[in-house]
Amino acid sequence: MFAQASHNSRQTAVEPVAGSTELLARISELIDDLRPDHVDLLKAFHRIQHEFGYVPPESVPLLAGKFRTTPAIIYGTIDFYSEVRTAPAAETTVEWCSGPACLLKGSLNIRRALEAIFECEMNRTSPNGKFGLRLVQCDGTCHLAPLVRHKGRYIGPLTVSDSIEWARRLRGEDGGAHAEGREALAELESPEAAQPVEAE
């Protein structure tokens, strides 16, 4: 009933594939029941990413064979979607919401602070490879704006100070370069010292 092929770029292109046998076997297994022209390519990406945390480059030729198209088209499709990763995410990835509600409530300030603390730009990994910042789109949890997400937890509404304290704790930093200010602060024993607001 749905058998028409509509892509003029479609061809059978099964070529020898580089990569470890186990990996290739696992990917093949994951995409085994999928067919071209059945809205299955997105499903393939999700399955592979769910398994490995990203879509390994080795899967491109396999997908091309499966979906009767060229590796270039598969790679172009992977590249098009921002939620499909081609490399594993950093061990600790902080997701920063880019939505307008967060923006209006000062999320850019939080972004600058996080970039400074993790020493990396948005969508990059820190020099030691342990921390990453990722830009995510608004999913309508705007009552927590401005927010960041970490391991599926939503943290907000944040002030810039909250986010700095939180990020430093995540880094395992207690005083560092700011020891002088912290000492002075301890003397004052200020009751207003910022308490991070966390919501699960």
Binding site: D37, S98, L103, C138, C142, G181
Partner: protein
């Protein structure tokens, strides 16, 4: 035969629903949806279940959807055996034991967390739910089941009148169904405002088979989350709408394309489709009527242009989601080059109501030209973030200022962005216009899909336009030069202005780019400059202030402000401690800010608001330094 099978199904469903509607013991409903999940509703549910079990209470705990009061989540509702029901707000897991003691035990109104009573009249010192400012004036038709039924239970949906519309439709000829939808005056809720009935007629008249019916649930507009709520709180409504649509247009296969950022709606839609299939409401020979229809939920992968109708088609075809060139229109050659129809979630979900109650009942609501209700989401600088459903034609101010509560105390409303980054901005002075496509279009703005984002006087319009242009540039598919390069140029110019290097010639350049963008293929490119154009129209003074005087009145644009220590205060050590770049330095007991290190993140001013001030970068430097 169809009717008999439905009656049988309804009776079974009613027995299940009766346990919820007329519970024998106490019933506790916990709203679990994306908005409440992120503030811990699942933990609340788990603790509540444990608590009820360990204490051996005569109470049932039930999961339900979202009432739309995002600002008060997590919400739980306690229904007493005598029918009295109270809604509690902000019930996080740690508050559950206390609440159970008070609410299920003796006193039925447990102090500070009680929000409202679920009845028509105020009682026990609590307001009725419908008399809350947020709820008063709302007409809940699409949202009738949201927060009332269990979204994972098809029986709840059927018992409350679900699939009645489908049964009525199956008893009519497809053309009659289309006529009924046309008569109601329903238009597409996704933003284009094109008649749904007419669209269906195009697909019905297409000759080739198979035909596809597609639901655009790729609600990509940031700040808009009404479709999400419908899918996770009442998924069967969409399933029924699509089956009716399939019958009316003689379609064979349906796809619901949900964006990747919505994992819970995907989960609940898949469950709903499975349940409908188990009941014989999907698949071969639906309810013995001879009509067959299949439905599949497709999860996107994070692309805004896939929300464009032809972009979505490309995405379904296993490739980059690039919008196609029209004609051919989807009804002639859509997905897999076969006749297709695409509607928004809200368009489909209105159809079961039209079929159930008739077009006349449906079009009672709304204004003279625009019938029915529309859902809106409020976010940004507003006191009550949530989801509302109001008749079309309701004044914008009613929704934003009264129901939403307006900007936080002490701030002034500045502007509203009505529906997505491509929709433009209207200023506070125009706030009384009705929520209708025309009144917005007259002002060069689109009403869009219903995500109202509110700006107040602490926000800068240039800053917001930079965001919109960045978004348009980032999400451009790359087909048209006017779009991918035009938005890039626009973004560069706006960033230049916000960094203090704007020049008067830039203004003409922006207008030129805005005109050129109209030549893009899809609405993504055409709509990209809308916000900038409304800035010219309504906020020219503020823009000129940026360009001519190099000053940002709201003190937001990073290149136009500078942080300085202007007083001494005990809070300065705290400011020094918080600074992520060690830019607050102390020389001989005096604090100052190292301008080379400062990244202008505002943390120090939060810590020491009296001592540290935001100055205009291009004014005389402050001389009073902290001692």
């Amino acid at each position: 035969m169809t009717l008999e099978r439905y009656k049988e199904m309804w009776q079974r469903a009613d027995e299940v629903w009766a346990r919820t509607a007329r519970p024998a013991g106490t019933l506790i409903k916990v709203g679990v949806a994306t908005c409440s999940r992120v503030v811990g509703a699942e933990e609340t549910l788990a603790v509540l279940r444990r608590e009820v079990e360990t204490r051996g209470l005569q109470a049932n705990v039930m999961l339900t959807g979202c009432l739309g009061l995002c600002y008060a989540e997590p919400l739980i509702e306690v229904v007493r055996p005598n029918g009295k029901a109270v809604l509690y707000q902000h019930v996080t897991a740690d508050k559950v034991p206390l609440l159970v003691e008070a609410a299920v035990g003796g006193d039925w109104i447990a102090g500070e967390h009680a929000l409202a009573v679920m009845s028509d009249r105020d009682s026990g010192g609590l307001p009725a739910l419908n008399s809350l400012e947020f709820m008063r004036g709302q007409v809940r038709r699409l949202m009738a089941n949201c927060g009332v039924t269990d979204p994972g239970n098809i029986d709840h949906y059927i018992a409350r009148g679900g699939y009645e519309g489908l049964v009525r439709a199956l008893g009519m000829r497809p053309v009659e169904v289309i006529d009924e939808v046309k008569k109601s005056g329903l238009w597409g809720r996704g933003g284009a405002a094109f008649s749904t009935g007419l669209k269906w007629e195009f697909l019905y008249n297409a000759k080739r088979k198979p035909k596809y019916l597609i639901c655009n649930a790729d609600e990509g507009d940031p700040g808009s989350f009404v479709n999400r709520n419908l899918m996770e709180s009442d998924p069967q409504l969409l399933v029924e709408g699509m089956i009716i649509g399939g019958y009316a247009t003689d379609a064979d296969q349906g796809y619901v394309y949900v964006r990747d950022e919505y994992p819970l709606p995907v989960e609940r839609m898949e469950l709903a489709v499975q349940q409908a299939r188990d009941r014989g409401l999907l698949g071969e020979n639906i309810l013995g009527s001879g009509f067959s229809f299949e439905l599949e939920v497709v999860r996107g992968a994070g692309s805004y242009v896939c929300g464009d109708e032809t972009g979505l088609l490309s995405s379904l075809e296993d490739r980059r989601g690039m919008p196609k060139i029209k004609p051919p229109f989807p009804a002639q050659a859509g997905v897999f080059a076969m006749p297709s129809n695409i509607n928004n979630v809200e368009s489909y979900t209105n159809v079961p109501l039209i079929m159930r109650h008739g077009a006349e009942w449906w079009s009672e609501m709304g204004s003279e030209k625009h019938k029915g209700t529309k859902m809106f989401a409020t976010s940004g600088q507003i006191q009550r973030v949530g989801i509302l459903e109001v008749p079309l034609g309701t004044p914008t101010s009613e929704v934003v200022m009264r129901m939403g509560g307006g900007p936080p105390a002490g701030r002034k409303l500045k502007a509203i962005q009505p529906g997505g980054p491509l929709s433009g901005v209207i200023p506070a002075s125009e706030i009384d216009i009705p929520l209708e496509p025309e009144s917005y279009r007259e002002r060069g703005v689109l009403m869009g899909s219903g995500g109202l984002v509110i700006l107040d006087d602490t926000n800068c319009i240039v800053d917001l336009c930079i965001y919109f242009e960045w978004f348009a540039e980032d999400e451009s598919c790359g087909r048209c030069t006017t779009c991918f390069a035009g938005t890039r140029r626009m973004l560069e110019i706006l960033r230049r202005i916000s960094s203090g290097r704007g020049r008067l010639a830039d203004l003409e350049l922006i207008k030129l780019l805005g005109n050129i963008a109209q030549n893009a293929n899809c609405f993504h490119g055409q709509g990209a400059p809308t916000a900038v154009m409304s800035m010219f129209r309504f906020f020219e003074d503020e823009l000129l202030e940026h360009v001519e005087r190099k000053r940002c009145p709201a003190k937001v644009c990073r290149g136009l402000v500078r942080y300085e220590v202007i007083h001494h205060s005990d809070r300065l050590p705290a400011a020094q401690a918080i600074c992520p770049t060690s830019a607050v330095v102390r020389d001989n007991g005096t604090y100052r800010i190292d301008q080379f290190k400062c990244i202008k993140c505002d943390a120090c001013r939060e810590q020491a608001p009296y001592a540290i001030a935001v100055m205009d970068e291009f004014e005389a430097p402050a001389i009073t330094l902290g001692r």
